[in-house]
Symmetry: C2
Subunit: 307 residues, 2 copies
């Protein structure tokens, strides 16, 4: 059962779990177009409903074994505009889901958290899972509160919980308006001849992780039964925005115009996450180098342009 299984990350996880032979149900909002046709031979059920409706959620998860929760109603960059909406839709919404899961005796829940926002300003690098959590945006505060409630419900009700704090994912199907999506946003502009807009001086450094590696982490989490609950999912390496632009220029074979805008106060300067724990516990490792991942996105963008 995958809540949010039709999005950028969800669809990659679905495709990967189908390869692994799992039977899946996808829950999405009404009017979200399935990202591809599923064959009659593929064990996928596509349900639509309102996540804030305990009725819709209850019907959907009846008889399910594992729930993957990927839904967020807000984006990091805009969540500060209305923290109450963020709390109501994401935190209270997740608590409602959790209450239904207790009633329906779900065995396990896997939750996507935000490696980029829950830690805040790094006190050391790379940031491991024991680093203090001091989110600079509402998005990170609600993700963190949901994490704490998941662990509380695990203790109270025995629902096994795994939390993946995913760094900056990129890849095909990423929407260009998400805050983490520098790769997609930059590529989109570069391919359509527009200048790239960079907040700050371009030294802001992020940890970009390719989508198939993220999907691989979720696939391993499904079968992971070890004692750990919280994992960073990251490349373990930092890339500055300026380095990213240089790499894009290399791949595209032409220069890209950059416009530098004044920095945003809530942006963390450097975010690089250690993935050692996921390597040790789940045998997971990122496999797709940044350059190769970007080349894949370029091909996909060119192929789907104008569609």
């Amino acid at each position: 059962m995958i809540f949010g299984g039709g999005g950028f990350i969800g669809s990659a996880i679905v495709d990967r779990l189908l390869l692994d032979g799992h039977e899946l149900t996808i829950f999405e909002r009404p009017r979200v177009e399935p990202y591809r046709k599923f064959l009659d031979t593929e064990p996928v059920k596509w349900l639509t409903g309102d996540l804030l409706s305990t009725h819709d959620v209850g019907d959907a998860i009846d008889g399910m074994d594992i729930v993957i929760h990927l839904v967020s109603s807000t984006l990091p960059k805009s969540s500060n505009d209305d923290p109450i909406y963020d709390v109501q839709s994401n935190l209270v919404g997740s608590l409602q889901m959790l209450n239904v899961m207790v009633a329906k005796k779900i065995r396990k829940i896997i939750f996507i958290s935000s490696g980029g926002t829950v830690y805040g300003r790094p006190e050391y690098l790379p940031i491991d899972e024991r680093h203090p959590t001091a989110p600079q945006v509402s998005y990170g505060i609600t993700k963190l509160a949901i994490e704490k409630y998941l662990l509380l419900f695990e203790q109270m009700h025995g629902i096994k919980t795994t939390i993946l704090r995913v760094a900056n994912p990129f890849g095909e199907r990423q929407r260009i308006e998400t805050a983490q999506g520098a790769v997609s946003a930059f590529l989109h502009r570069a391919l359509s001849g527009q200048p790239i807009e960079i907040w700050g001086d371009g030294t802001a450094t992020r940890d970009y992780i390719y989508i198939s590696d993220v999907a691989d982490a979720f696939a391993r989490t499904v079968t992971y039964e070890g004692p750990q609950s919280v994992f960073n999912i990251s490349s373990g390496a930092g890339t500055s925005l300026n380095e990213l632009v240089s790499l894009l220029e290399e791949i595209l074979g032409h220069t890209i115009e950059c416009r530098y805008l004044s920095g945003r106060s809530f942006d963390v300067q450097v975010s690089i996450l250690s993935n050692t724990l996921a390597q040790q516990e789940m045998g997971w490792m990122p496999k797709v180098p940044l350059r190769e991942g970007i080349e894949n996105v370029v091909k996909w963008m060119i192929k789907t342009r104008g569609k």
Copy 2:
């Protein structure tokens, strides 16, 4: 401006701040009886209203300089029964208050957090402010989320924030049904000849801090302008329930019957908080020893019995 200024902790803070010469407004729910008569010469205004009403809160804080936020709608021990109510009334309620404070240009906010529940199981003792936060109860999760939002609003809107993570406060006027109130609950039973009920084997250890020392910490926080935002307010010493009973027996001069009940899973075995940061930054120190504090409560209970 003191939200919750009529309660056990609030009333002690009010009395202390009046001694320091501050002008105060107390905001309480309707039908909360003032804990004492205020003289015409005392600069205290007693307002009533609904904290979830932005209208009531807005009217109340208009023109105020500093807000002290002491309100909680839930108790640690019962908050897990309905986490959604906990989030709605405490977290969303506090966010609504914060939005009003931004609009009304409040300079500073002081918030009471929970030294007993935000940390969870101790990884080392005494627990300092940098200890990981892994609350075992909803009460602690919402307190922690409010803390994070206060710090976010400080950064976004410049409202200076101080958070006091108070250990296990005790003293006159404490309600006997609160989870932290072992001293009051035990004394109430011992004085009325009832046996004491102890969850677990009585080795559970807490950090009891006398109410006048808590009030002193808030008084210092009002004038504190240093860089730190989060302080433990604690005695720094641990007392087990069995030690507490022995001390009560000494003070009362007779034995007390104890009934041991099976332990609650969410109870942390040991909670002792370091108060070094508050000492260094605010020159605050606990002054009233546990024995002297308990003697004060005994006197007060005997004086007010049957009233």
